[in-house]
């Protein structure tokens, strides 16, 4: 009896070890965790993969080769040919008809102008791309030249252009990238000239008297109008730059950062909460808001030839904003009316 009890107890205790021993022996899941050389979120990742896949199928006569687009007879999602990308070799000057649904990637060899209210899985344009009003792109969009996104378009995933991209009012987006990224149809404002300034001297050293990389300020900080600060700042509360104030250096605030009209930061801007860049403000470096990023009319991020990134969980961009580089909304981005 005792033996039986001991056996049952031992079996009971060893029970969790049986799957372990089986896995140890069979090694079904023993490979190292794969590390990606490039992340899927990277702007050029999906278009590059698409082109690489096309290059692999070049010269082969299989079902994954692009099929020439016959607008009069578009394949339905269930058709076997719907598995292949659409190839658009000649689109003509007129936009495509309205309300089309493309369930595979579109490869446009020439300039493409889509009609309103169409939906695409992905578009690769070897020339200019012009998306009509109310379009939806499910995965990605890439233009080798210029891209124009008309009002009310929803861009899921990434949208990139090698040259210029214009995103009109009412569009929503996740990741946008272009050498010159303009929001709204209004032309970008000219750079605001610097007015007379007063320099605020900073003592950049820590409590031990050792030279420090940055000045640590444990309260709210306001840079008065027309004043300039030179040096990196870390503020444990909020930072407020009044009209035409300027910081030459990087800034970080644990709470919000507000730049009023004409203020400028010649460096990077990081906030653990919100960042609001007022009208005609300028940031030459990266802008990171862990919560909400608001870019007001006429503000500018980065510089021509010096690409930068503006990102936040929620990004609101007004018309007239100009960004050189990337705008990344981790949850939702929109071009406000």
């Amino acid at each position: 009896m005792l033996l039986v009890l001991l056996s049952i107890t031992a079996l009971w205790l060893l029970l969790p070890f049986f799957p372990a021993f089986i896995e140890l022996r069979s090694r079904r899941d023993a490979e190292p965790l794969p590390i990606a050389d490039r992340y899927e979120e990277e702007m050029q990742h999906a278009p590059a993969q698409f082109i690489a896949a096309l290059a692999m199928t070049a010269g082969q006569d299989n079902a994954t080769r692009p099929v020439p687009l016959d607008l009069a007879n578009l394949p339905r999602p269930g058709d076997p040919s719907a598995k292949a990308p659409y190839l658009l070799e000649e689109s003509g000057a007129e936009p495509l008809p309205a309300g089309l649904l493309f369930t595979k990637e579109v490869l446009a060899k020439t300039a493409l102008h889509t009609g309103p209210n169409s939906a695409f899985e992905a578009i690769y344009g070897e020339n200019d791309l012009h998306l009509g009003e109310g379009n939806t792109v499910a995965l990605w969009l890439h233009g080798e030249a210029n891209v124009w996104i008309s009002a009310g378009t929803h861009l899921h995933g990434s949208a990139s252009a090698l040259q210029e991209m214009v995103v009109e009012k009412g569009c929503t987006f996740e990741r946008l990238h272009a050498a010159n990224l303009l929001f709204g149809v209004e032309p970008a404002l000219k750079e605001r000239p610097l007015g007379p300034e007063t320099l605020i001297p900073l003592a950049l050293e820590n409590e031990a008297g050792v030279p420090d990389h940055r000045l640590l300020i444990c309260r709210d900080l306001t840079i008065p109008a027309g004043h300039v600060v030179e040096g990196n700042l870390v503020i444990t509360e909020s930072l407020h730059l009044e009209r035409d104030a300027r910081i030459i250096g990087d800034v970080k605030a644990h709470r919000s950062i507000v730049l009023e009209e004409g203020a400028r930061v010649e460096g990077h801007v990081f906030s653990e909460k919100d960042v609001r860049l007022g009208a005609e403000t300028q940031v030459t470096g990266v802008v990171v808001a862990e919560r909400r990023l608001t870019l007001s009319r006429g503000c500018r991020v980065g510089a021509l030839g010096r690409a930068s990134t503006a990102c936040g969980r929620y990004v609101d961009v007004a018309a007239g904003v100009q960004v050189h580089g990337t705008v990344w909304a981790l949850e939702r981005g929109r071009v406000t009316q």
């Binding site: 140890l24 190292p32 030279p211 990389h213």
Partner: protein, 517 residues
């Protein structure tokens, strides 16, 4: 041992109170028909043995009970901490503020590779670093060769000749030994404000340098840390267990600390530091066994932040034999405990830290001290049981359950299980019960290391290079083969820059050796 403890605890908690009143027992047991049994009514439990000698012997028991209370409290604190971190990773908001930094004017950066007799691995990391997508004009690679006696110097010099603008080696032949001392000397030659550090057995991916530099654009970040992923996972039981432990440590612990704005730990490799931050807190401390922990404490106490993200991943080689693993963890425990004794007061009084950061820093520093405490707790619990200390039976049960939770079923195991699932593995999680083996080995190793830490300083060994043994068999051979191939290529084509990619394909970091599982 755990099972024994649980059984003991259960036995104590369920043991009947000594029957001292025959009449009372008869009354109570009569309805069950037991009163007629003579052994029930006549047995009288003996008094605790110390009371037979002198009542003054009772005070050690009180001390033991007090210590036990303290240990139980600490175990509960760490258990709550494990749960907090795991739930945060599973259900909380994740914080990766720098992951979206896609483009910027990338600053100059120096990559340092401390190495001591690394002929088996050094060529692989140099090849990998030559392939990264960081602007070449802004990237300097400095292998820090500290008195290697093998072919490390030869290999490094060969690369330096081929890539003179990118690879600037630093050969060290005197001065105090040790990684921290070598880095301290090498840092005097670094011209950029940002420096990344990789151990020689690591294999960085193409975009890793950008990923690690992005957080350092934040003026508050003094150090950045990436995730370490074991590459030789399939080798044997130990490597598979270490893979899961590493997953728990990085995927859950470190990322949760980042999410909760606590203190992610700079780990000394797959990471980087800002030189101005380093200098402002006194630079490297060459006598430190774990220069990473040491630096983390001083940086955060000085008002700097350490940034971490799971996305900054890099392969490493984990120990494949238990003696190597035990040596490694003992070194970590000694260095960590040394840092704890030195810096916990500094963390607690730092005016730059919030209370939760102070608490997290203290718990982080004290983690290796829990092993000896836990062993002491077990011994006290067992001793009290055999001393007949009945007043404790409830607490002993709590200790048993809490210990089991911390070591086994729930807290730490839950953390590892969550990490494995977050990594997307399906079958690996079945190895979870075997993690107990790794825990017990770590427990006794770190316990022993902590005891050795209490020895007088003059009896401790001098600081030396505590290099973890490399298991890559064909590193040097692959490099030599690659060199021959490369010479042939150069003869065919005068291009000198194309060897790197080719060598990457020829120098597979691990040979297809049979698993010893």
């Amino acid at each position: 041992m755990l099972t024994m403890l649980v059984c003991c605890a259960a036995a104590v908690s369920e043991a009947p109170a000594p029957v001292t009143s025959a009449v009372g027992s008869s009354v109570a047991l009569e309805p069950y028909g037991l009163a007629t049994r003579p052994w029930v009514t006549e047995v009288e439990a003996p008094p605790p043995f110390w009371t037979r000698f002198d009542s003054r012997f009772a005070w050690p028991v009180d001390v033991m009970v007090g210590v036990l209370y303290g240990i139980i409290f600490m175990i509960c604190v760490y258990t709550v901490r494990h749960y907090w971190f795991t739930f945060n990773r599973l259900f909380g908001r994740q914080r990766n503020p720098y992951i979206a930094v896609d483009e910027t004017d990338w600053p100059e950066v120096t990559v340092l590779i401390p190495c001591h007799n690394e002929e088996a691995v050094i060529s692989t990391i140099l090849d990998a670093l030559l392939r990264v997508d960081y602007p070449a004009s802004r990237l300097r690679i400095t292998p820090v060769n500290d008195r290697s006696t093998d072919a490390t110097r030869e290999i490094i010099d060969h690369y330096a000749v081929r890539f003179p603008t990118q690879i600037l080696p630093f050969h060290r032949s005197d001065g105090p030994p040790g990684k921290a001392a070598a880095l301290k000397d090498a840092f005097t030659l670094v011209e950029s404000d940002l420096a990344l550090i990789f151990d020689a057995d690591y294999v960085p991916g193409r975009d890793l340098i950008k990923r690690l530099v992005a957080p350092l654009l934040d003026p508050e970040v003094g150090a950045v840390m990436g995730r370490v992923v074991p590459l030789n996972t399939p080798r044997n039981l130990l490597t598979r267990l270490l893979d899961m432990e590493r997953a728990g440590g990085y995927q859950v612990d470190q990322q949760a600390r980042m999410n909760l704005d606590l203190i992610p730990q700079y780990g000394g490799t797959v990471g980087g530091v800002r030189l101005s931050a380093l200098n402002s807190v006194g630079g490297w401390r060459p006598s430190s066994l774990t220069e990473d922990t040491d630096l983390t404490c001083r940086l955060v106490a000085g008002g700097w932040k350490v940034a971490y993200s799971n996305r900054y991943e890099c392969y490493e080689e984990v120990p494949e034999t238990w003696p190597v693993r035990i040596r490694q963890i003992k070194r970590w425990a000694r260095g960590h405990t040394d840092a704890a004794l030195r810096y916990v007061p500094l963390l607690l009084i730092s005016r730059h830290l919030r209370w939760r950061e102070r608490l997290d820093g203290t718990l982080l520093m004290g983690i290796y001290l829990m092993s000896p405490l836990l062993i002491i707790g077990w011994l006290i619990a067992i001793a009290l049981f055999y001393l007949g200390e009945h007043a404790l039976h409830g607490l002993v049960a709590i200790l048993a359950v809490a210990s089991y939770n911390t070591l086994g079923n729930f807290a730490a195991f839950f953390e590892i299980a969550a990490a494995v699932r977050l990594d997307g593995h399906r079958h690996r999680i079945r190895l979870l019960p075997l993690v107990l083996v790794g825990f017990l080995v770590s427990l006794f190793s770190t316990g022993r290391a902590a005891v050795s830490q209490l020895r007088p300083r003059k009896r401790r060994r001098d600081i030396v290079w505590h290099k973890t043994e490399r298991f890559r068999e064909n590193g040097l051979e692959a490099w030599r083969n690659g060199q021959i191939e490369e010479t042939t290529n150069e003869r065919d084509d005068e291009s000198t820059n194309r060897g790197a990619d080719e060598r990457m394909s020829t120098s597979a970091p691990f040979s297809p050796r049979q698993s010893t599982a």
